[in-house]
Symmetry: C2
Subunit: 338 residues, 2 copies
């Protein structure tokens, strides 16, 4: 092995196999029309030389890449991970890869990220959420690649949508609590406008309380996202100190709901005996905690699967009119609420 020699190209492989570079190129394509034995010889030659296909050159020449760009607010979030997992799975068969970027719940970081991703000429782009900077919108609109917004139902969609109304989902949860005779309901989280889905959930809470003629002012801020267990516990402590007569708490996610639950446990407050708790997202922690936590399941994997399906359709019919696919979040009643 001569370590400092320049890496072999298709021409080198072609020479080794006694064919033209074009035939090597065809041998590496999936439907490439090459004699099976010729292909075998080529692949053997490639292996022998340690040839690595150059996607860079391929993309430049063909003016098409083999990946879909996906942006999520955070890795380390099981909900978004499930969406991405289903997306990857659904695109694998099309020979499409997923290129993942995360925005830290910041639409300016999203802007930076999306500009970076577009430079690589993705086949399509899937973003989380429907709120973006003006510049991001503009970039995506001009990008001339399919755009899918997920986890939201934006009023002015850029392209396609696979999502649901975060506000409506919480509205349904409030309805359920009120039907069970609970009046004094609080909401934890969703104060920072960085997490737009969290903000929508809080807005849904306020609207629902108003619709029932109830006091929707029990709003506990939990700081900038990601709002997790610790923030949920802190918010719950604050709530118990300031509004001790609260009967039920809806949290922006199951993670903060679990934190809230632990705060109650440490204070000896019985859940759901003294206070009911609900979350959002159907995270594993809420399914398994004692008590288990009432939640709303937005079917993250389904979002990914449908987005993948839509992308496959767009591969075949690029001019498909903008589609809005609504997911129906399900209410899961568990031990943490009466």
């Amino acid at each position: 092995m001569h370590k400092d020699r320049r890496p072999p190209t298709m021409s080198d492989v072609a020479q080794q196999a006694g064919v033209s570079p074009m035939t090597v190129s065809r041998a590496f394509k999936l439907g490439g029309l090459v004699q099976p034995e010729t292909r075998a010889r080529i692949l053997a030659a490639a292996d022998e030389l340690g040839y690595v296909f150059d996607s860079t050159a391929s993309s430049l020449r063909s003016q098409r890449s083999d990946f879909v760009a996906v942006t999520i607010p955070s890795i380390a979030n099981a909900n978004f991970a499930d969406t991405v997992g289903a997306l990857v799975e659904g695109l694998k068969h099309q020979g499409l890869t997923v290129l993942l970027g995360y925005t830290n719940y910041d639409i300016h970081e999203e802007e930076r990220l999306i500009e970076q991703l577009l430079r690589r000429k993705p086949r399509a782009i899937v973003v989380t959420g429907g709120r973006h900077t003006d510049r991001t919108r503009q970039r995506l609109e001009n990008a001339s690649v399919p755009v899918i917004e997920t986890w939201d139902l934006p009023e002015n969609p850029i392209g396609h949508i696979v999502g649901f109304s975060n506000a409506a989902a919480i509205h349904g949860l409030v309805d359920h609590f009120v039907a069970r005779g609970l009046d004094r309901i609080a909401f934890i989280g969703g104060d920072a406008d960085r997490d737009t889905r969290g903000t929508d959930r809080r807005a849904g809470f306020v609207a629902a309380m108003r619709a029932h003629g109830l006091d929707g002012s029990r709003l506990i801020a939990a700081g900038p996202p990601p709002i997790s267990m610790r923030e949920g516990a802190e918010a719950m402590n604050h709530l118990l100190n300031t509004r001790p007569d609260t009967q039920a708490v809806i949290c922006v996610s199951d993670l903060s709901a679990f934190g809230a639950l632990t705060a109650c446990q440490r204070r000896g407050i019985d859940v759901p005996g003294q206070i009911s708790i609900a979350g959002f997202g159907n995270y594993e922690v809420g399914a398994i905690s004692v008590p288990s936590i009432t939640t709303i399941d937005p079917s993250p994997a389904q979002i990914g699967a449908i987005a993948a399906q839509l992308l496959c359709q767009l591969e075949e019919y690029p001019d498909t009119a903008p589609i809005c696919h609504r997911i129906s979040p399900r209410l899961l009643l568990r031990e943490s609420s009466v």
Copy 2:
């Protein structure tokens, strides 16, 4: 807007700004030697035309990309997410992006993924773990880009290492339990050879028990990774049914440890009164649960930060000899253990 016109290139921008394409190229580089006013004019022209820099062409011509490939077993794992987060943060200033792929804890999937990533000519590649298929090893060795293996201390490293011994970390935990007078200790997880770090942890447990002259056969399989809360609860139930005299349980991660804890709670078994529980990873759930869970903190963010630092160093001195940076996991004693 003519939607079907081909997208503008540097030449178009150059023409618009009244300069040569080369000057536009320089204007887009960070240290490009261009008159400030010229650059301003160029950027304005680019904006006006909706120009998007073509990384594909840039990479092909310059034979160097602007990204580091990173592979992790799973997104949706807070530990790996923290490593990646620190890596991204540490590379941002160098103008390097992270391209993330995940392997589903499968070294064959890893092989596929790494081949895909290498086709894009990354500046470096950071992988999780030190066990790979032969073909993966070969590919990485021949790739002529820096390789960093993390979260492990492989015996035959491919390149650089930023990691720790998973076995030794568990060994220390066993020592602690034994010193507290606990003899009948079980281990949950790590049966499948897919999660090599989990397997190492179990091996560390067995070796430590043997070193103390204790019975190291209380091993509860938890199925294929990712082993999470549900599997931890199931394994704990199995353990309580089959070896009810167990005094302490070490779990392959805090997630399964939390599951094990809930299993005890549902059966009315006091933790740590009747049984001690420990996990691994210092996940948030174990810090906040009631009781909080004793764990080992492998400093995931530190791993990422050091890897990033090493990569920066390698940018400057590419011929740096292989470095092995050892992390020292810390034992965090919490409420779940005596």
